[in-house]
Symmetry: C2
Subunit: 196 residues, 2 copies
């Protein structure tokens, strides 16, 4: 006899397949196509494993990984909002809150709430784990752009000020990663990938 | 001054982008295209979070997730070997061991070894965490096939005996997931997705 909770878990897992069809603006480094949410979520989760030693504070890396694995689930219904899309970002919060109710509501109450709490914590960006998770989320597309001759920076004429605003969590999360990131960005400006 | 270890970490992270271009035989549930290794690794990592309560033994879910995040990295160099490809599986072990030396060798010794240990443990499939991780790895493509009218089962004329051999870790890892899985497979046989 299969329990109702397990049936709901499976329906949730099957629904998550849609993450593989939510496209981000960022391209793969080999420029072959745009990256999707499932790929991005995997990449930043491994990054957290590899880079946690550089966190300024002692962090619970397991919690960071769990946060990163679910941080974009709302985009199954709310879609990916490009970080430099001013109009889209005005309605983003409302769309994502409705999506969160829907996707986490698929699970039984306690389990849905546990995952929802991870997403809420990530979004609030106040705890040291949420900050480090946000740093991974901001850092990964920089690699995609830098190692593909400018990527979306060039395509959308992104300015230095916009990039620095976007990556602020990295500065708070890790001095070493911040030093690395600023070096990379200054070099990207020199190369003409990012506008002064 | 950027440390050598951090530079190597970044090179490793950039190299991992290639996981997004390693195609598996399995299709997405919507049948639009084949799934890649990054997507698969993400999906089974979230599955471990959601399904860990059904493990027969008390497992360290964080370790399971870390194992699943890196379990396919060797395929960057060794390629994906289809589980029902008899010839390909003869040379798989040798190819993957060489690939493991290469990919984990990109990192500094202690960090490379830590990740390599996770992969070795997964491959040996002896600990309760490795068994549960293998169960996730085997279960996810069943969903892809079942919810897309037979998928690779039908395409490659896979038999009931082949499927049951492949999914053996699920039986050892979780009674509840095993019951669910066998129900699904018996139904897939009735529907003509899997050959008797």
């Amino acid at each position: 006899m299969i329990k109702d909770g397990l049936k709901r878990d499976i329906e949730f897992i099957v629904e998550l397949d849609k993450m593989k069809s939510i496209l981000r603006q960022t391209n793969l480094i080999d420029k072959s196509r745009r990256e999707d949410d499932a790929e991005h979520s995997w990449h930043i989760s491994v990054m957290a494993m590899v880079l946690s030693e550089y966190a300024n504070e002692n962090i619970d890396v397991c919690k960071v990984i769990k946060m990163l694995l679910v941080h974009d689930l709302v985009e199954i219904y709310a879609g990916d909002t490009f970080c430099y899309d001013v109009e889209g970002n005005k309605s983003k919060k409302k769309r994502e809150l409705e999506a969160a109710d829907k996707i986490y509501g698929m699970l039984k109450e306690d389990k849905g709430q546990e995952l929802r709490n991870l997403w809420d914590e990530f979004e609030e960006m106040k705890t040291k784990e949420a900050l480090f998770a946000a740093a991974m989320d901001r850092l990964q597309p920089l690699f995609s752009n830098y190692y593909s001759d400018g990527g979306t920076w060039k395509k959308f004429n992104v300015t230095k000020a916009e990039v620095y605003k976007r990556i602020a969590p990295i500065e708070k999360a890790s001095d070493e990663l911040w030093e690395f990131t600023t070096n990379m960005i200054e070099d990207a400006i020199k190369k003409g990938y990012i506008k002064e």
